[in-house]
């Protein structure tokens, strides 16, 4: 541990030099190599990008949409558009930031559509810190909120929801597994969705503010 301060001379606390150096190098490094690759051979660059981020992006998307298939579709589409529109030529942030943001927005749009979100006046619960909502944080809080709602569901209801949405099973398969009628499974799943919709509605209002400007 040595004092490392030429970068930030005004800082007076010791910073672990080794770690800081390493982190900074990493940031420039992986993006630098990718950028170089895109410069000479964009096709290869896209492929590298895909190999590097596909799995993680799917994992991120599934937190919002709760369906493996939808998550994979969303991510694949982002990569396709990324290539077709040659977005890599115009990205000013890191590729990683661009990809994560795209995943979040697409997942959000899917969710909004799927929840048949309606903007009813009683849902307008205003938070004091929502004047300048920070998108990066809001999205993380959104998927945490979703996770929380699902965790709070009654056990049977949660099982049915997970089997149907995440595992993508058919109603009658779930009915067999849970030993109830498929009508009852349908009711459980729709109850879970109604709960999600209801509890998310206040969140929508916050997020909606983001996209208005």
């Amino acid at each position: 541990m040595s004092t490392f301060s030429y970068r930030n001379p005004h800082e007076d606390l010791p910073v672990p030099a080794q770690e800081k150096l390493l982190d900074d190098t990493l940031v420039t490094d992986d993006e630098f190599l990718l950028r170089k690759e895109f410069g000479t051979n964009p096709e290869k660059g896209c492929e590298l990008l895909f190999r590097r981020y596909y799995v993680n992006l799917c994992n991120h998307a599934v937190r919002f949409v709760h369906s493996k298939e939808v998550a994979e579709d969303i991510v694949s589409e982002i990569f396709t558009v990324f290539w077709q529109n040659q977005t890599f030529l115009h990205v000013t942030t890191s590729y990683r930031a661009y990809l994560y943001k795209s995943v979040r927005h697409r997942a959000y749009n899917y969710l909004k559509f799927q929840m048949k979100f309606s903007h009813s006046p009683e849902d307008q619960t205003k938070c004091s810190d929502s004047l300048n909502p920070d998108e990066a944080l809001q999205f993380t809080e959104l998927h945490q909120k979703i996770e929380h709602i699902i965790r709070e569901l009654p056990p049977q209801c949660r099982r049915a929801y997970i089997l149907k949405r995440v595992e993508g099973k058919k109603y009658h398969e779930i009915a067999e597994e849970l030993k109830i009628s498929s009508k009852a499974v349908e009711a459980l799943v729709s109850r879970a969705l109604i709960r999600l919709r209801k509890e998310l509605s206040s969140h929508w209002t916050l997020l909606l503010l983001l996209f208005l400007y």
Partner: protein
């Protein structure tokens, strides 16, 4: 803030373990645009450490490679806006043909997935109130409290008119010039098929019921069974699918709800509790089986669960206790 500390803070934030003050710190840190990339870098590291499932990356990559090969670099088009807006606010007029193609594919796929939501809209009644609707071709529907009817969003078109009922409703079906059938789906494999008539249909968790006032209807049951009903007939089926047809049924128990009344004729208190649940979505429990087996008769007007419970408590001298998420009926202890 020092980077290692920030990293720990962000990881805590992704885990949902930060306090509101720490959140504020993160927010301030993020206000610096240069930190945004770092944020996503840590988010990516966090995702690596917290996998949710294993996507089939290999086959997805093959698809993507096919895509890469199929579309060799065309003329580069400058992006109209900054990155975030790409994914959400699609500037419709500036779309390249690939964007249009992608949008079209997405639209077709979503049309397919959300077929029912797109083709049908739902008519709903709030708890404690009935709701009357007139459908586009003239059929009148009165929905009982806590019920939903799915009707075609874009009119019935030619051929049969189909709707989906969850709950209870009275139908006055109009006869069309082309003798189009009117079909009410009351759960999987249960259909009521009519030309022009009046009937009351009931479809909830505990079973199904159809009471015919006028005309004639055909019931389609599971396993291809069929049944014709005449005026005054009552069809009842329970959860297991066993059913019963009564020739001359008293209409009052099945139509009382239209005047927001309950009709009881030697009805078990346990049945009354069930009806309150269906009507008002209020859970009523009767732990005492002796009490649950007491019977009650009469017509009672009630626009909310409390109205009816009030009457019951006075009439039968029972005690009503509001528990956390249900109401309990019990016999009062004699002091």
């Amino acid at each position: 803030m020092k980077e290692p500390i920030m990293k720990q803070l962000l990881f805590d934030f992704f885990d949902g373990k930060t306090t509101s003050m720490q959140r504020k710190l993160v927010e301030e840190w993020l206000a610096d645009e240069n930190n945004q990339d770092t944020y996503y870098k840590y988010l990516d590291e966090w995702e690596t450490a917290h996998p949710q499932f294993e996507p089939d990356a290999e086959s997805a990559l093959q698809h993507f490679q096919a895509n890469l090969a199929g579309v060799t670099s065309s003329t580069a088009q400058p992006e109209a806006d900054n990155v975030e807006h790409n994914a959400i606010l699609i500037p419709f007029l500036n779309l390249s043909k690939w964007k249009w193609a992608a949008a079209a594919c997405f639209l077709i796929a979503s049309c397919f997935v959300f077929k029912k939501q797109i083709l049908y809209r739902s008519l709903e009644s709030v708890i404690g109130k009935t709701a009357s609707y007139q459908l586009s071709e003239g059929t009148r529907v009165v929905l009982n409290s806590n019920s939903t009817l799915l009707v075609p969003r874009f009119g019935f078109g030619s051929g049969s008119r189909e709707v989906f009922l969850d709950g209870e409703a009275e139908f006055k079906v109009t006869h069309t010039p082309h003798n189009d059938r009117f079909i009410v789906h009351i759960g999987e494999n249960y259909e009521i098929e009519v030309l022009g008539t009046e009937f009351v249909a009931f479809s909830r968790a505990r079973g199904k019921r159809v009471f015919l006032k006028n005309g004639k209807v055909k019931l389609k049951l599971p396993e291809g069974k069929q049944l014709y009903m005449k005026p005054g007939n009552l069809f009842v089926s329970d959860k297991t699918g066993a059913f019963n047809l009564t020739k001359e049924a008293d209409p009052r128990p099945y139509t009382a709800w239209k005047d927001q009344t309950f009709y009881f004729d030697n009805t078990l208190l346990s049945q009354v509790a069930l009806q309150i649940h269906e009507q008002f979505n209020v859970n009523v429990r009767i732990p005492d089986t002796l009490l649950a087996n007491r019977r009650i008769a009469g017509t009672y007007k009630a626009t909310q669960a409390d109205d009816l419970l009030q009457i019951l408590s006075e009439l039968m001298q029972i005690e009503i206790t509001q528990k956390e998420d249900y109401i309990e009926l019990s016999t009062p202890k004699i002091p």
